[in-house]
Structures are given as structure tokens and as C-alpha cells.
Symmetry: C2
Subunit: 190 residues, 2 copies
Amino acid sequence: MARERKFNTVELFQEAKQLLLQHGYDGFTFSLLADRMEVSRAALYKYYDNKEELITDFMIYEMEEFLHELREIETLEGFERQFDFLIDLIFKKTEVHELIRAAQQVMTRMDAAFPNKEKLEKLPLDMYKFLQKFILVGKEEEKLKKHIPDGLIIGFILQTVAIPNHFGIPKAEWIHSIKEIISDGMFMNK
Amino acid sequence: MARERKFNTVELFQEAKQLLLQHGYDGFTFSLLADRMEVSRAALYKYYDNKEELITDFMIYEMEEFLHELREIETLEGFERQFDFLIDLIFKKTEVHELIRAAQQVMTRMDAAFPNKEKLEKLPLDMYKFLQKFILVGKEEEKLKKHIPDGLIIGFILQTVAIPNHFGIPKAEWIHSIKEIISDGMFMNK
DNA sequence: TGTTAAAGTTACAGATGTGTCACTTATATT
DNA sequence: AATATAAGTGACACATCTGTAACTTTAACA
């Protein structure tokens, strides 16, 4: 009963991601996005009332996808395998963490009554809770130092993707060295 | 021969910093800044032709100040002291690194012929070069692992300030644990 | 083949930002 | 007290973004 759509949600989110990473929350506009999609601006308003709604929807989609892939960690046996899996996943999904940063900008400017606010606030906490189980395994297996706070361990690992590789060190070497620093530090053993 | 100024450059840069951190490059406007300074927008144009010029000037000021404080590292004897000094300085000047991130946004949108472009591009490299001397000391004193690339060591240390402390762990404990992870890792010794 | 309804477009009004210019204000110097 | 001059203002023209409403297009289906 209807005409064919010129674009689907996934395409839309892909472009939105690029624009958000390039321009940040404030620099993101419907005009920019409509141009990229080769669609009129008004068409976007058929699906989203405003940019806040579009961006929150997109964020939720992106984080849920990450969480979904993350859940595979539970199927792995032993802390070391889980650790490797986590680092590799994080580097496969680099942008997610930059987006979480942008998410905070969204939150601060959002109405208290905004429909998706709760859902968006809950997701990063879900992720932390989920990873806390992984930390627990590490500490129980006597692999992770017990006196280091869980929040720091998780934050530390997640943060490593954002280290700028100014000198273009090859990806494999880069990730390998990062794993080494995280696990045993950059100091020589005494 | 002239009337008294209502604001000075340092005040201006302080407000600019806050706005940049809050809104990012695209969200930063002269209107916003003028309001904060309680001055007319046109007054700002007496000093800066446009926001690019203001922001680059500000960035250069901020980075030079950081570099200036960093130079004190050379007066310290031995790698361990230098290491402690560096971490503490980074945590004292948290925002600098968030600003460097914003700086990249500025660059990409800047004319190739922009007056301060070279100066702004040079500063982060100066910082890296300066820190490379510190890395060299560490490797010569057999304190730092020699096979880890210098660029990663520097990037890793600088990045730690950006780890979000979601659970409000006390600053002293937080920094102490970070130092431990950086130096000896988060894994138990075998 | 005509009807229906979602998909998409064009065009408008209002808000906000930009850069500029003619103007006013304040103060150090003569 | 008069004057020169830098500091600051108000207001204009132009651009961009926002949200909406009236319109047209397309394709399924009755």
C-alpha cells in the first residue's frame, strides 16, 4: 500500500555515525545527514521528531549491538581467553567508545522527561555490570590483582582503543604491545 | 589614550576552554562566549577575525603552558622521579588532552594557508619529542621494556587521564592504582 | 483500473549564528 | 578642557538550521 523507501535504518545509522564522529553532537544536523542520504530533510522528520531522538535511537542501537557481540565472552573458558576476546572485540569496534563520549553530551542537553533517556543511561551500566563478571572470574582465578578497583580495570581496558597511533605502528604489533602493558606493565621485571 | 578593557586574554581563554569542552568545536560560538564574558559579540571581533583564529590562539596558549610546566621534568634525577612527576602533571592538567582531541577537529576544517596552522601542528610533536627523551632515560636505565614502541608508551600514559571514574573512587587511590597498572600491569605476578 | 496510504518533496516562518560598519564611550595625554 | 584613540555597542545583511504544513509520487491491493 505504500511506495518503496529510499533508505533503511541501517544506512541511516551508518551515515549518522560518521557525521557524529566528525562533527560531534552540536555539529550534527539534519541537513548534513539528509544530503548524505540523498533525501530531503523533511523526509527524516517522518521518522524522527528531532535530532535528539534520532541520535538517542542510534546510540541505543549501536550499544546494543556491541553488548550483543560482547555476550559471546561467556561461552569462553578461562580468564585468559576471555581477556584476549575482549581486547580484540574492543579494537574491532573502536568507534563505540568515541560514541559513548558523545552520548554524555547528549544526556546533559536532554529533557528529564525524554522518552529514551532511561534506556540510554542504563546501557553503559549494563556493559559495566556484564564486564564485572569477567573481572570476577579473573580475580577468582588469581589472575587479576585483587586490590585494583573493578571500575578502573574495565575503564583502563576500554580506554586503550583511544590511544592515537601517531607513528603508524602496525596494528598487530600495536595490539600485542597493548596487551602486554595491560597485563604486565611497561617496567622491566625486577 | 584608551578606555579600560572589560576583560583580558586569560579570562577569555578560561571561558573558551569551558565552552570548548562542553560543546566541542562545532558547538562553540562567539555569541556563547560573548554572553559568558558579559561583553558584546562585536567586541570579540576587535581581537579575533573568527572562531578559528580565536581557538587556534587559545590552543597554542594552552599547549605552550603545558609544555612549559613539563620542562621541569629535566631537572629531576632518575627515571622513577620523572615518571611520578609526569603522571602527576597529567592529572593536574586533565583538560589539555581533551583539548588536543578538539584540536584535530580544528585542523581538518582549517585552510591550508591559515596563519597559525604550522605552529599548532608542531606543538603536539614537540611534546612527543620532549617526552621521547624521558623514555630514552627509562630504557637506558633498564627500567622500561625496550621492545615497546616509544609512541605507545607516551600515548598510553597520556591516555590514562581520560579513564572515566564512574564509581567515584578517591583521587589518590585512583592515581596510585593507575601508576601500578602502567608500571607492572593488572595481572598477578607469576 | 481506481483507491489508499505511506514515502517523499517544496516552501515557509522563526530562531540563531556570522561578519561588518557606523556609532558611542571612556581615559591618558597635551 | 580639548583631543586622540582604543574599547565597546547596536544594528544590518546574509547564511544556516529547525520544525511544519500542504503538496506530489509511487506501489500494493481490492
